[in-house]
Subunit: 298 residues, 2 copies
């Protein structure tokens, strides 16, 4: 099934009407706009010309049959394709980490060629395509697609990439899953307020897990397992992501919390996803090698 | 020159008496106690038996001839040797990230064998020996060796390892440099409040740089360059580390701050060093490959 990019939402909401129904185990391809709703095509555009009410669109939502509150949604990211030969970056006054030092706003059109992005005509960087916004409807109030929280959303985590599996909670019947906001590349932090924003397509396989108590959001790939948490401050997000990893390991082992936290202190990595959205996002990462020794098989 | 481990300080201070004088370019070997001043030898010991006034000793300080306020101290870490076949870890009530969930205190004696640490009898992890406390005297008030700040100190950054070069400010004549608190291994975050605490020896070459405006602390190794910052909150440390990297690149290129921050957003990584000391520490890391494209040669 293919979900066209004219089916977008700007907030995750239990009241959103699903654009399609799929059964557990279905393959779905989402066409996605960039985070600016594909409004910026060149550097001559100004911030004033942008419709800021249409930012961070997510394609969807889709209703997953049999998904009920308390279940877990498993999203296998099979393929990410970029559908443009350029990306857009922005930064400016009061945007990003050095926004207090910038007086003007800036739009950058970044060419993409041979799987590299070319910044400032001479800086060549390898791409690491990833999904910025991915989530389900929250149980309570609507949450703007620009905000990350327990339901997923704008986590801007570079590990949400091709080959990874993401686990999210199901809060409402059908889950109401949506995704968008691809980045052709991004570093941890997303410090200027944007990644290499680009349109694309994402192929996923979506399944419902019953009777699972996995902490969510959770990311698994062949190399690592990460618990993800978002909070108003980085300090809180760091604590929450770590506690979620302790909780995960506790489900699989007989070790005490004290035993687990010392192992994580010795060998796990507390990392930053982004520090520029309305909530900050951290992840706690362990290698698959350590996970296997802890009997965590995911 | 060799500095014996009976020459220790528990605070970095302009009033500390140097235990040796060396000229710029000297090789120095520091013998170091573990962060518990080698007080814990087995798991039967209790927190009550520890002398908590003698924690985080740093060996030194040494007076570097010609080092004057405004200069930069360059410390090349040539070799880290561990001098024990076990490490100590502690966690407990109100210690580390899950200290609110722990009611008791815990001491772990961790065997080290064949370049691996063995936790809980069956978890084998590779070592990544690193220096926890390394710094110079601050200009103003004394700073406990347990606290990281602009002068260095207890940064607990796993990149301060063999093969790395650390740049620190010189705040007082002679710099009054000291180091200690080796970890046989540690992950980013140091989430239980300790690494694999161990005694050892560190061989460094110390030089004075005149007329340098490098932002400090700064770490360089063959793979990456990192600016380091410590602050009361992780949010502040994240901002400061990023701004220091922008400042570094600005010294070497003609790019604007906006140009630089977008490149860092696309390809740099904002990372956590530790979240458990009285001040939190972040680093902003760029690869040497990106640094070369930005004409940052270090």
């Amino acid at each position: 099934m293919r979900i066209k990019k004219n089916n977008v939402i700007f907030a995750m909401s239990k009241n959103n009407q699903p654009v399609a129904h799929v059964s557990s185990g279905s393959q779905v391809i989402f066409e996605t706009c960039d985070c600016f709703f594909d409004q910026i095509l060149d550097e001559t555009m100004t911030f004033n010309e942008l419709d800021w009410n249409h930012i961070n669109p997510a394609t969807g939502p889709i209703y997953v049959e049999d998904a009920l509150p308390g279940d877990i949604l498993k999203i296998e990211i099979k393929k990410i394709s970029l559908t443009r030969d350029f990306a857009i970056m922005v930064t400016g006054h009061q945007l990003g980490v050095i926004g207090d030092q910038l007086s003007d706003n800036h739009i950058y059109k970044v060419p993409i060629l041979d799987n590299q992005a070319i910044l400032q005509d001479h800086i060549h960087i390898d791409l690491n395509p990833m999904i910025g916004v991915i989530g389900v409807a929250p149980k309570g109030d609507d949450i703007s697609c620009g905000i990350p929280c327990q339901h997923g959303g704008n986590m801007d985590c570079k590990e949400i990439a091709q080959g990874a599996t993401l686990y999210l909670p199901v809060n409402v019947p059908g889950a109401l899953f949506a995704l968008g906001d691809l980045h052709a590349a991004m570093g941890d932090g997303e410090v200027c307020v944007s990644g290499l924003e680009i349109s694309g397509e994402v192929e996923v396989v979506i399944s419902v897990l019953k009777n699972s108590a996995l902490p969510t959001p959770l990311i698994v790939n062949p190399h690592m397992i990460s618990t993800v948490a978002s909070s108003p401050t980085l300090d809180e997000a760091a604590v929450d992501a770590t506690k979620q990893m302790v909780k995960l390991i506790k489900q699989y082992s007989n070790l005490s919390e004290a035993d687990i936290i010392t192992i994580l202190s010795a060998k796990g990595d507390l990392r930053i996803c982004q520090v520029v959205d309305p909530q900050k996002t951290c992840r706690f990462e362990i290698t698959q090698s350590l996970a296997k020794q802890l009997s965590v098989i995911l």
